[in-house]
Point group: C2
DNA sequence: GAAAATGGTTTGCAATGCAAACTAGTAGTT
DNA sequence: AACTACTAGTTTGCATTGCAAACCATTTTC
């Protein structure tokens, strides 16, 4: 029972599909740039920009702005906190999925 | 690459934490009543009610209203469509998680 | 040097999650 | 029989958020 209560407290910052994709991708590389993330997720620039800002504000990613030649480049990487958060998030999801197989129906609820 | 694009197209109806919990729970029993789902998820009645309505409108769950003695009872079960949808959703999530381990970083992106 | 492309950010709107307020009926209690 | 409290939900309204269109600054192309 308690397992399920936790899922509704899932960090929405991480759970939102686009950000989940971004964070998951970043958890498997050292860093990735804006354009790469855009192609990866298929998001519009504006959308991606605002999602990254949110992740940055929450201290889940670090954003390094620089110039590659004369072109601005935005490079994103997970913070320690961010890496921990995304890993824990996936664990929680796994628990939800597996937990549902073992909970016991009660009173009016009919078991399978 | 294409894998990630798909994740941003995740059905938000299913992905929202509360509904994900509801649907996952229902996928493992024949049916469950309103109060049970409320305790399971820890949601307020109002919130649960509106989520269930959404799932019903999308034809993912079936809602049977009846009286148990003199007390109204709302019983919820997955439709065939709903069962298929929640199973496919979990598969997509799994693909996202596993897929991220195999994608190849490109150009400016630095590999781990 | 005008037009189009690159690499983003800001703005504004439509949609959504959430709880407070409400509805409708039941159960005690005095 | 009138009043209070509880059960089982639904509706309403607000604050938040995801999203793309519009915008900005620079660079490349024709």
């Amino acid at each position: 029972m308690s397992l399920f209560k936790e899922i509704t407290e899932l960090d929405k910052l991480l759970h939102e599909p686009s950000r989940l994709a971004i964070m998951t991708a970043l958890s498997n590389c050292e860093s990735a740039d804006f354009i790469f993330l855009q192609r990866l997720t298929g998001m519009s620039k504006g959308n991606l920009s605002s999602h990254l800002s949110k992740l940055e504000e929450a201290n889940l990613v670090e954003i390094q702005k620089s110039f590659v030649g004369k072109i601005p480049n935005t490079n994103v990487s997970l913070t320690k906190e961010g890496l921990k958060a995304i890993n824990e998030h996936w664990e929680k999801l796994e628990e939800l999925r597996n937990g549902s197989k073992t909970w016991k129906p009660e009173h009016e609820t009919k078991a399978l």
